[in-house]
Symmetry: C2
Subunit: 388 residues, 2 copies
């Protein structure tokens, strides 16, 4: 099991803090946004006496509520198409175990969320990366690139839109191209939609659930973590209209008994979160994105595409090695006793030496801190001995 690349820098961040430096955490997807009051009140207002197991597939009331949420988004599903999971993490691992055997292959456009590797590893599944590029903002690679790597072992294509780590939002045309691909080769299409609610500039989110004819192919992976800034609730789900997949996934869900009971009560309340909450959060993230993208592109020899969603950007920096640079920022650099922690992009690629001059920046801190962090980064780039 490889170490989580996002965690590798943690000891250096701890040391920097012990040395009295202020560290701006742009390295992880833990937003500062407040969790909706309705969810927290649901926790505070529990009135049971026995904290019991729930049904392995999730409680009926919660799955019913979820179905209304998804149908508002045009998914046309019922509660019986949902299995509630312990976070998006478990949704991914159950999906892998259900749909792929040891040695089977899943194609994933890279860069991709590093923990996909961890879950694939656990089930001896092979992740086959397809390169996407910063030069076109990490758009879907040409379908011909997918075709080239399809083998008799290929079982699925795995996408994430809006994307972590790139923020890229797949267009309707790109989704249609993927549909044709998976139908042609009879593959599953796994879609991680953790960032569904975060699309900017009036762009429309397109889910494979919006496309006809994919009923047997699609497995949606979802989580409350980002949508409601409730990462610590560890509540997600799998959605599929493929009944065989659903029933097989249930067996894995039964082995671990159930997801959390209190969280599912909070999840019911979450579906009733007023629109104003999302409007406010949306405006905040959109504003932060503009700030970060603009600040980065003003720095000498830095390039940052303007992504359509999520709360991440990938930036190309004039550096020799992003692992070294991010560590140097924590260990050896400070500006007015502050520094910035970022995620080296190398951790999001499996192709060797890809991402060496890229970092992922999560805009999960407030505007004033973001401004300070951008100044720090610019000063850091000026001072870095490995600048190229």
């Amino acid at each position: 099991m490889p170490e989580s690349p996002i965690r590798k820098l943690s000891p250096f961040a701890e040391a920097a803090k012990r040395a009295g430096k202020k560290v701006y955490h742009l390295n992880i997807g833990q937003p500062d946004i407040e969790t909706p009051e309705g969810m927290l009140n649901a926790v505070k207002n529990i009135d049971f006496k026995v904290w019991a197991y729930t049904e392995s597939e999730g409680t009926h009331p919660y799955r019913n509520k979820l179905a209304t949420y998804y149908n508002k988004h045009g998914y046309n599903i019922s509660a019986d198409d949902i299995i509630v999971t312990t976070g998006g993490s478990e949704a991914i691992s159950i999906t892998f175990m259900t749909c792929l055997d040891a040695g089977d292959e899943v194609i994933v456009p890279e860069p991709f969320y590093a923990n996909y590797n961890g879950f694939a590893n656990q089930s001896d599944i092979v992740v086959v990366p397809i390169m996407s590029h910063i030069s076109n903002g990490f758009a879907l690679p040409p379908i011909s690139d997918f075709e080239k790597v399809i083998t008799g072992k290929t079982r699925a294509v795995f996408i994430c839109s809006p994307n972590n780590p790139t923020g890229y939002l797949y267009s309707k045309e790109e989704m249609e191209a993927l549909k044709a691909l998976v139908l042609k080769h009879d593959l599953f299409l796994f879609a991680d939609e953790a960032y569904r609610e975060f699309c900017y500039d009036g762009q429309t989110f397109v889910s494979p659930m919006h496309l006809d004819g994919l009923e047997e192919n699609v497995v949606i992976i979802d989580t409350l973590s980002k949508r409601y800034s409730a990462c610590g609730a560890r509540l997600g789900c799998i959605i599929t209209r493929n009944k065989e997949v659903w029933h097989n996934a249930l067996k894995f869900a039964q082995a671990r008994l159930s997801a959390g009971m209190v969280e599912q009560l909070a999840g019911e309340a979450a579906v009733d979160t007023p629109n104003e909450y999302f409007e406010k959060v949306h405006a905040e993230y959109s504003h932060r994105r503009d700030l970060v993208v603009s600040a980065l592109n003003k720095m000498t020899d830095v390039y940052c595409p303007n992504p359509g969603g999520a709360f991440y950007v990938m930036a190309r920096l004039p550096i020799d090695n992003s692992d070294k640079f991010c560590r140097w920022m924590l260990e050896d650099f400070s500006y007015q006793n502050q520094t910035v922690m970022m995620a080296p992009a190398t951790g999001f690629y499996t192709t060797p030496s890809a991402g060496l001059n890229e970092v992922r920046i999560a805009y999960v801190i407030n505007e004033n801190e973001l401004r300070q962090a951008m100044i720090c980064l610019e000063e850091g780039l000026r001072a870095y001995p490995g600048r190229v």
Copy 2:
């Protein structure tokens, strides 16, 4: 992935209820005992604004609290020996993935908790059963039986004491015999201690953590589910003084990010549960056990050993097939419009046709209902066409 054997009967129980029968649920380990007020109050009194990830190994305050709990039980550990997990289920799966590779073997006295099979399956680990017998109350099988099945692929022995499904409590002598075995063959010793607090008749619980010289071998698997009747909290942990195991387990914990935040706050409160709570629960379970064991042994041709712990008994019944019998009780039988749901013991054995005349009974309902359930069972045994 095989279906969870405990769930196979659920559709028949549902049908029985729809037909208006009262079903006594003696089939699952979901107690009716109330969760300690302190835990529930910790949930009601949350005062954070962002429901955030915690450290992957668990929060410092919670692990510190846990260490005080275990040290009160003589474990001599620190917070750094603990990794907090999403229930005992995840503790088992992470332990398997950390200590065994695909094809490796773990020896488990059978009958054993059926989901061990599920988790082994997920990692292509081979469970090698060693038969224990109802005739001696499911005591530890002779060490020579373990020796016979040890191969170059054997990596671990996995025990559960007090045992699910048998209730058997391993003695100091049995634990010492296991110690000698694992040291001789350089094996891990995994111990599922979910029922640690439930030992009756003044018998003493012995953990492998109480034995010197096993520091590198032992991994303890624990959960709050049974101890505090908090199954739906999904909070457990791994304890090991083997630093390599701890660090490798942490990588799996990091891949899934963290256990629940609210649960860990409740877990801190749980450690402060007053002794009176346990005394009351202990007296209740002990009383129920006496009632069930006595009622069963009074039935014609029924035998039930008197187990030292947990809240299960295994009973030998005069029946042809426990799967058929348990299903028949739900589908075709009622006494005063009531019936009983039990777990066929076949699900706890991997050896074919073992457990055909045994059932597991969980005494997780109140005394009056238990009495009614025992009457129903006796009447059912009289009427069952497959009686032998």
